[in-house]
Symmetry: C2
């Protein structure tokens, strides 16, 4: 039996063959996401992977509507696997807004789903780091969020040579539209044309702009002048104070396709332009009000960073560590009469926080030792008796080949001294 | 807009009102699950939350069939949100069995789904710690897995006063059936009657057993003698060697309702009998063969432990820690002229691994200090100038009220010395 097209299995390393997805790499990415968010004072939340369909259709642009993984459930409800996290966040905040002091700084690591016509290698799910700030309209919040985005990528060892955050503003484009004659009502259609400008090229975008009474020349001239709005300048100054200025630039070619963005928008890209956007986000000051049917009104902004492009980039830049079993010790049980006492030793070492494995059944010494090496354990150890009849643990550092014999009570400390993985 | 019935939102602590689910408690439980599995040498894997329906219908008993969260997708595929993890594991192993050395020790923390007629408070999803050993038929594997189950619960501070693992064996029941006249073909129906014996009582179970040509007296007599099979005795001896004997007992009243179990089965219960089973599992030596259509044949066993009953139990026994923002420091910015330099300080402290927050916009001193206390930050700190014009960081331990002033380069170390949360 096969898994569904567009879905992924995650296997432990070393991977059986190229092209499979690594559970260890996924965990590594999740842990960096969590750790950076926590350093920034963001708190974790989560919602259901399945929501009422209308939660997503109320507020999204057409971009997302054709891609929903929606269906009718057994109770005749119209439901959808979540394509993005922001509507769920807005729903959750609206339900308990008064109980949380502002600004609210929250993050989540949801799995998101979409259903498009299957293209070769195109995934129907991915994981996304979502971080949002609610209840603060000042550009200081935008800067804090963008700094989190930058530091998240830096936490993986990526530098200003590797990526850049392109800052833009719906307000600037709004002003552009008010200064240029055209079809004002079609603002969202216009943003979607700009959003695709780089990917689709002038042949496709030119006529679409013309249909709105605008020209490619006007648009390109506006993008090229790249004069920061007052808000963007505040954000750049704030990033400068933190020492992060080199990671950001103003670029009005970014505009984001979703309907609900209201002010500053941004996307992170690799500097070589090899990959799709690493992350994207912006202000959505009206969304909480919309989702809560006017009950709660909070300025808000957030970003999402997917696991797939990030993983590709980390691989390409050599920023993924080698993953193995992270085993501190493998216990050899050579004498069957020592199995019981060895199980106790193993249990005590695990109780002391070490990762320890052993052969579940009797096996030849060299087979056990080979297994310890295959698992890349830091140490091999075995229980023994001293000449005076006391228990001894003989420990071998599998990297340096150094050996030590210690009393069982000292075994955990000696494994740590030999550089076991666990702290 | 509301979330779907039977699904949960997870909020950061402190929770706005009782009855909400805590994202911090969930994370705490996941981390303990992961840490214990790793100490036992288990490796993490994951599969898709959505699978082809036939993956679950091929091998499950009727118990699960009526409860599937299944639907037809946009491509006219019959699919289902996963009700359990074992079929996905068997599918993944069957696809790459030769690449992994045996025994394979893997774990996962999937979210699982079911769709029953909605009962008050009944959930349609939960998270489950799944641990499995594949490729080892010896009872030493059963003992290793049951020891992991016991140590997982012990890692939460639960003791032998709190829970017990009830061990049983399909083999023993199989022998019982061969010694008692009855309808041999109805073995699964029989197990499902036994599985429900405690919940449904003699009035319901008696007639059902009679229909199979068996009596409640025969069944009760068999359960009460509780004589361990040779395999169960091996497992008990193995647990004894580890010092875990008191956590297990033989109890043939446990039999598990699923069709695919073949040998030893077990369930963990709280000693007071207040809650549903905390965890359950057993051997399923034929499942991998069934899922792989005979291609791969591996003995296997595993257990699942849900987050909901565990959380109820931990709450009832006072074993959940207090959760807060885990903030190491809150930076006060009293002089607007120091905002830029303070942002740099905050950035450096975060870069040193500390969790730091601050007011995103200018605010009165006492309001900032109040916020630091609300967030339960370990320290409050602020940037200042020494009389000789050098930068100083004034740090206050918010628990002891102790204060120290240090150079910016020493600030992270001083916050740690004051007992910040981050190590």
């Amino acid at each position: 039996m096969e898994r569904l097209p567009g879905f992924r299995d995650f296997y432990p390393e070393p991977l059986p063959q190229p092209g499979l997805w690594s559970a260890d790499a996924r965990h590594f990415i999740f842990e960096q996401w969590r750790a950076t968010a926590r350093r920034y004072g963001f708190r974790e939340y989560d919602g259901p992977p399945l929501e009422a369909l209308e939660l997503f259709t109320t507020k999204s642009g057409e971009e997302i509507l054709g891609q929903l993984y929606n269906f009718t459930d057994k109770g005749q409800r119209e439901v959808s696997l979540r394509p993005e996290m922001t509507p769920t966040l807005a729903r959750m905040i609206a339900a308990h807004e008064r109980s949380y002091k502002k600004p609210i700084k929250w993050f989540a690591l949801p799995q998101l789903f979409r259903y498009e016509r299957q293209q070769k290698g195109r995934l129907r799910e991915h994981f996304q780091f979502n971080a949002d700030i609610l209840g603060e309209g000042d550009p200081g919040a935008d800067a804090e969020l963008i700094a989190l985005l930058i530091d998240t990528l830096r936490s993986f060892g990526l530098t200003a040579e590797d990526f850049v955050v392109r800052l833009s503003s719906r307000d600037a484009w709004h002003e552009f539209l008010s200064e240029h004659p055209g079809e004002r009502a079609a603002e969202l259609s216009f943003y979607q044309i700009i959003d695709k400008l780089e990917r689709e090229g002038p042949e496709s975008s030119g006529p679409k702009l013309a249909a709105l009474g605008l020209s490619l020349e006007q648009v390109n001239a506006f993008i090229q002048q790249a004069k920061p709005t007052a808000q963007l300048q505040q954000i750049l100054d704030n990033l400068e104070a933190r020492g992060l200025r080199e990671y950001a630039k103003v670029d009005y070619g970014v505009v984001r396709g979703l309907a609900y963005y209201t002010g500053v928008v941004f996307e992170a890209f690799d500097r070589h332009g090899e990959f799709r956007a690493i992350a994207g986000g912006g202000r959505y000051d009206n969304l909480v009000k919309l989702i809560s049917h006017g009950k709660v009104n909070l300025p808000a902004l957030g970003f999402g960073m997917g696991d797939v492009v990030l993983l590709e980039l980390l691989k390409a830049r050599g920023r993924l560590p080698q993953f193995d079993s992270s085993l501190d010790a493998f216990c050899l049980i050579e004498d069957p009469g020592l199995r019981g006492a060895s199980l106790k030793l193993i249990h005590d070492l695990r109780g002391a926080g070490l990762a320890v494995d052993y052969s579940l059944t009797p096996a030849k010494s060299d087979k056990q030792f080979k297994r310890a090496q295959e698992l890349n354990a830091a140490c091999a150890l075995r229980l023994d008796r001293s000449p005076t009849g006391e228990w001894l643990v003989r420990i071998k550092n599998l990297k340096t080949r150094e050996e030590k014999s210690v009393a069982p009570a000292q075994a955990a400390a000696q494994v740590r001294a030999f550089g076991g993985h666990s702290k």
